[in-house]
């Protein structure tokens, strides 16, 4: 074990509370801005406004999963336990946003497509991604030993990340009906501005959430370590 004392020292808050307020206010602003500036869509009417939550939520899901992948690799590389805690925190936040993406998508799909669910590539691979997140978090909750939990969940996280593009490919071949991805060219500028601003706001919020969860994870580990050390009678600060 290469864990030094600093792994178990509680983290310092620093500028993070301020960062949290800034991201929250940015989020409120970009949501209000996007909703007020976008005219009703010809086809979808005001259902279009779902885009400002659904699409950024999908983006931050992949963002969070990217952090899980990077932190998992970093953990196996450096054996720094903080990387493991970061990966776990990102996985939890990612799972929440993934669920949000799916649920919002259903609410949008029902009036627009007439169905709650369709087995197309995008939907199905997002659902599979969610299931991989769930498996990752379940594994963590079933393993007590920190070293074992770290190495196992890093392996599961990396393999899961490798699997995501393969799932996407296979389901795409299987069947596809999702509307084409909205890229900047297919989107009116009036919608695009609101969407991009919300991408920014969601990213900031996600970074803040992951940081808060990570701090909590550090406290948990510090407490665990202190109680172990106290039980062994060797804890001196």
């Amino acid at each position: 074990m290469t864990n030094d004392r600093s792994t178990f020292a509680p983290p310092t808050a620093g500028w993070w509370p301020l960062f949290g307020w800034v991201s929250f206010l940015t989020f409120v602003f970009t949501q209000v801005y996007a909703v007020l500036t976008s005219p009703a869509d010809r086809m979808m009417g005001h259902m279009q406004k779902m885009m400002y939550v659904h699409v950024p939520a999908a983006w931050v899901t992949f963002f969070a999963f990217g952090i899980v992948l990077l932190a998992s690799v970093a953990f196996l590389w450096t054996e720094d336990e903080r990387q493991d805690l970061l990966a776990a925190s990102a996985a939890e936040i990612g799972a929440v946003f993934c669920a949000l993406t799916l649920i919002l998508g259903m609410f949008w799909g029902r009036p627009t497509w007439g169905v709650w669910w369709s087995w197309d590539a995008r939907l199905t691979s997002t659902l599979v991604l969610f299931l991989i997140f769930v498996g990752y978090l379940a594994l963590r909750s079933f393993v007590e030993d920190p070293q074992r939990r770290g190495q196992w969940s890093a392996a599961v996280g990396i393999l899961g990340a490798i699997n995501v593009p393969i799932v996407w490919m296979s389901v795409k071949w299987w069947r596809t009906l999702h509307q084409l991805q909205s890229d900047p060219r297919s989107l009116e500028p009036v919608y695009l501005r609101g969407l991009l601003l919300n991408f920014l706001a969601f990213t900031l919020l996600t970074v803040f959430f992951i940081r808060r969860r990570y701090e909590a994870a550090r406290y948990e580990r510090a407490a665990e370590h202190a109680s172990q050390a106290a039980a062994l009678g060797g804890y001196n600060g």
Binding site: I132, A138, Q151, V156, L159, I162, V171, W173
Partner: protein, 228 residues
């Protein structure tokens, strides 16, 4: 020289696992019977219309193999743990990958033997007419089984040593296996219908690519998983 030594270790582990299995036969009999039972249940769920059964045969077959096979993977480590043999296995000199390769090969033989029984019963129960190019179907099935066994053996190395192992393995394994299942089912289905659209080849390539990717990934990652 070291590589040849590791190959001998692989052979020894395969031989050991298969001998344990051959002497008791309890595991294999139970797992194969379960596979057949699941097929019968699918028959009731989809049944009795012959055409509906034929259409669903490929999917039902693969799910039966998957549900029954998952028991085999945990078992292959459980036998070691019960005898306190895993630590000893790790203490022997040699590469970690040799342990994984041995377990994978033993499980491959185990699951293939089960597949033969399940397919034979499935052909009868689901009234499937064997098509001309049955050799290709066997090829597809082997590719599918390799993907299943690779990931199954890898995840079982963790789940068998955790709490709630019965739940954890399927929870981890099934989402990962969706591409394998999809490709195997679709290719098998296409061949059973005579492959009029020439789709089966694309699925087979996908399966092959999947097997190669996860062969490399699981062999690299196994060391981190088994060590702790």
């Amino acid at each position: 020289m070291a590589f040849r030594d590791d190959m001998r270790r692989v052979r020894a582990i395969v031989w050991k696992d298969l001998t344990t299995e051959r002497r008791s036969k309890a595991g294999f009999n139970a797992v194969a019977s379960l596979g057949v039972t699941i097929l019968v249940l699918f028959g009731f769920a989809l049944g009795p219309d012959a055409q509906a059964l034929r259409d669903a045969a490929a999917g039902a077959l693969w799910l039966a193999v998957l549900f029954a096979g998952v028991l085999a993977f945990n078992r292959s480590y459980q036998v070691e743990l019960d005898g306190g043999a895993l630590e000893a296995l790790l203490l022997y000199p040699g590469s970690r990958w040799a342990i994984f390769a041995g377990k994978v090969l033993a499980n491959l033989i185990f699951v293939t033997a089960m597949l033969v029984i399940v397919v034979a019963v499935g052909l009868v129960l689901f009234q499937v007419t064997v098509p001309e190019d049955w050799g290709k179907i066997i090829g597809i099935m082997m590719l599918g089984v390799i993907g299943l066994v690779l990931l199954g053996t890898f995840y079982a190395a963790m789940s068998s040593r955790s709490r709630a192992r019965e739940v954890l393995l399927p929870l981890l394994l099934y989402p990962m296996l969706i591409p394998v299942l999809l490709a195997s089912m679709e290719a098998t289905k296409a061949f059973l219908r005579g492959d009029l659209m020439n789709q089966a080849g694309a699925w087979a390539q996908m399966l092959g690519a999947f097997d190669v990717i996860f062969l490399v990934a699981t062999f690299l990652a196994f060391e981190y998983v088994i060590e702790v």
